[in-house]
């Protein structure tokens, strides 16, 4: 398997306890990778080391086998920084022409590609306007277009949707999904876990500069074994009896969407690993004369995974 990104004990020590420590990652080519973590965890530091903006204190990183930061490695990447601004006295088109020249692009192809990308990110004819007149969302779109300018093999995106409205977010998500289908490797650093969940194959969670957990998104989401049952006629005695009969945790959870209805409906939640257990639980409910209105598996989300993983831990990024 060829790896787009490999890091070996990557460490950056800023001398104030910040930075990251011993980060080892392997991201196969063509995968979308989600990099998560609380504020100040060191995510941007790692991205900066990968794109060559910051030199590691220890360890090394390779992009398609080339040392991160080398001109050869940078030839294959596109990068959208988290906090960036293009000079306001340039037009969007001029900023892109400048970046295209830095990538060694020239000729009619350059012009065509710039126009196509400006259209794709929704800037279109406003590309001729000065950037100082752009909204934050438009600057973000321009940054995205610039990141894709040289048709990179790896795209590093640091909070790509942070300044976008819901429509913009949707468009960016579609664009990224298309890039993924084209076989690009995407390194997505985002707090919008819903986007990560929809786009990424693999996630890693960073806390205080160290990798806390990582895995395939499908595995992380599959890990949930909780089921919910909407029943009528539940009593405390019946609940105790169910717990004893199933030998698994069964709880009444707060009613979804407001107060409990007067006729005594409840939501029960149980940890059931096998489908057979779910069938058996249903049968027990029916045998006890309870009314079963609805049964569904609780869909796990990255939010829950994230919160569970970092709960109880200290985060250096904020005073909590």
């Amino acid at each position: 398997m060829s790896y787009a990104i490999e890091t070996f004990g990557l460490t950056k020590n800023y001398g104030n306890g910040r930075g990251c420590h011993d980060v080892t990652l392997r991201i196969p080519a063509g995968e979308a990778f989600g990099f998560l973590g609380p504020n100040g965890a060191g995510k941007s530091t790692i991205v900066k080391m990968l794109v060559g903006l910051t030199a590691p204190t220890e360890g090394k990183a390779l992009l398609f086998g080339q040392p991160a930061g080398s001109v050869e490695a940078r030839r294959r990447i596109g990068y959208l920084p988290e906090l960036f601004r293009y000079p306001g006295w340039l037009s969007g088109e001029e900023a892109m022409v400048f970046h295209a020249k830095l990538c060694g692009m020239k000729g009619a192809e350059l012009k065509r590609r710039i126009n196509r990308l400006l259209d794709e990110v929704g800037i279109g004819q406003r590309g001729k306007d000065r950037i100082k007149g752009y909204s934050k969302g438009m600057q973000q779109r321009l940054g995205l277009a610039c990141a894709l300018l040289a048709d990179p093999d790896i795209v590093f995106l640091d909070e790509p949707a942070s300044a976008l409205d819901p429509v913009g977010r949707h468009e960016v998500r579609e664009l990224l999904q298309r890039l993924r289908k084209e076989g690009k490797t995407i390194f997505l650093n985002s707090h919008l876990l819903e986007d990560v969940e929809l786009l990424c194959d693999h996630v890693a969670l960073l806390n205080n500069g160290r990798i806390l957990a990582d895995g395939r998104v499908s595995d992380v989401l599959r890990a949930s074994t909780r089921w919910r049952f909407r029943v009528g006629g539940m009593t405390p005695e019946l609940l105790d009896w169910l717990r004893e009969a199933m030998i698994v945790p069964v709880d009444i959870i707060p009613w979804e969407g407001g107060d409990t209805p007067a006729w005594g409906e409840h939501w029960l939640e149980a940890e059931l690993a096998e489908d057979e257990q779910v069938g058996y639980f249903n049968r027990l409910l029916m045998e006890q004369g309870l009314t079963l209105y609805e049964t569904r598996k609780v869909k796990s989300s990255l939010d829950e995974w994230f919160l569970q993983a970092v709960s109880g831990l200290e985060h250096r990024g904020e005073n909590r």
Binding site: K48, V51, G52, L53, T54, A55, V71, E72, R74, R75, I77, Y79, L80, P81, L83, F84, R85, Y86, P87, W89, L90, E94, F98, H99, K101, L102, C103, G104, G143, C146, A147, F156
Partner: protein, 297 residues
């Protein structure tokens, strides 16, 4: 590198600093022309028809003083333009998030740095050339005295050298200092060069001529020498004026200190100092290239 160079020109042209500099320069030209014309009239109206040695020296003195005034303005105009155009070159642009996307491109940082340096330097040189030609032109037109053609080339090189030095130093300092701090530091450094020359004048004027003043003068000479070594810009300006007025060639008939008073050229630096300045320039340009390669963004 050329793309960065061209972008720097575009930046300087589009930013209002260029417009303001040119507007103020036009104002200077107008004022300087009227000063030169009235000074020229006062030194050339008498002794009509006969050019005596005294008259010649008067005219020469008038022309030298005008050039001194003109180049005094030109020196700080070009110096300040060099400082304030390049003051935000590295840290300022990094703080605004401009450099992060540039340095992720397949371009060597040293090439970017040299591209920016060339952009600032060539722009400021163009402005310096404009000032140099206009000052000599206005003085020659108003007084009828122009410097010897052979001295103009070397004088021009000396006149524009501070631009190279100030852009080099300002860009180097911008690797660590934010624009405001860098601007203040560079203006103070540039101003210190003037102080060095003023000390020379004070010593030359014999203001510490009392019996026990030798020690004071020695100390002041040492401080002045150190200032010149620290920031050679004003010393280069003195050498430029000295070459332009051809003070050495005039010998006994024209002693700068006696004839020009406050505008005298005191202690113009030697050729060895010019070599020192060349080494100084190369050292700080190399230091800037080294710093940009090592800097984390």
């Amino acid at each position: 590198m050329i793309a960065v160079w061209m972008l720097t020109w575009k930046e300087l042209i589009r930013k209002k600093v260029t417009l303001m500099t040119l507007l103020l320069t036009v104002l200077f030209w107008i004022a300087f022309y009227f000063i030169a014309r009235s000074a020229g009239a006062s030194v050339s109206h008498y002794e009509s028809g006969i050019i005596s040695l005294d008259n010649l020296i008067d005219r020469f003195r008038g022309s030298a003083i005008l050039l001194w005034i003109g180049f005094f303005f030109a020196s700080f105009a070009t110096g300040f333009l060099a400082i304030f155009s390049s003051v935000a070159a590295v840290t300022g642009e990094a703080e605004h998030g401009v450099l992060q996307s540039v340095f992720a491109r397949p371009i060597k940082r040293t090439h970017w740095y040299l591209g920016r340096w060339l952009g600032f330097v060539t722009f400021c040189l163009a402005y310096a050339l404009l000032l140099f030609v206009s000052i000599i032109g206005i003085v020659a037109y108003a007084t009828g005295v122009h410097p010897d053609w052979s001295s103009i080339g070397p004088a021009l090189v000396l006149f524009v050298s501070p631009v190279l030095l100030m852009v080099t130093l300002t860009m180097l300092a911008s690797c660590w200092l934010a624009p405001l701090g860098n601007g203040v530091a560079m203006v103070l450094l540039f101003g210190m060069g003037w102080v060095g020359t003023m000390l020379d004048r004070v010593i030359a004027a014999g203001m510490f001529a009392s019996n026990d003043s030798t020690k004071t003068s020695d100390t002041m000479e040492m401080v002045s020498g150190l200032i010149r070594l620290l920031i050679p810009t004003d010393a280069l300006q003195q050498r430029m004026l000295s070459d332009l007025f051809q003070v050495k060639d005039l010998g006994q008939s024209f002693t700068s200190r006696d004839s020009l008073g406050y505008f005298s050229i005191v202690n113009p630096p030697s050729d060895a100092f010019l070599y020192y300045t060349a080494v100084y320039f190369v050292f700080f340009l190399a230091a800037g290239l080294f710093a940009i390669r090592r800097k984390d963004f």
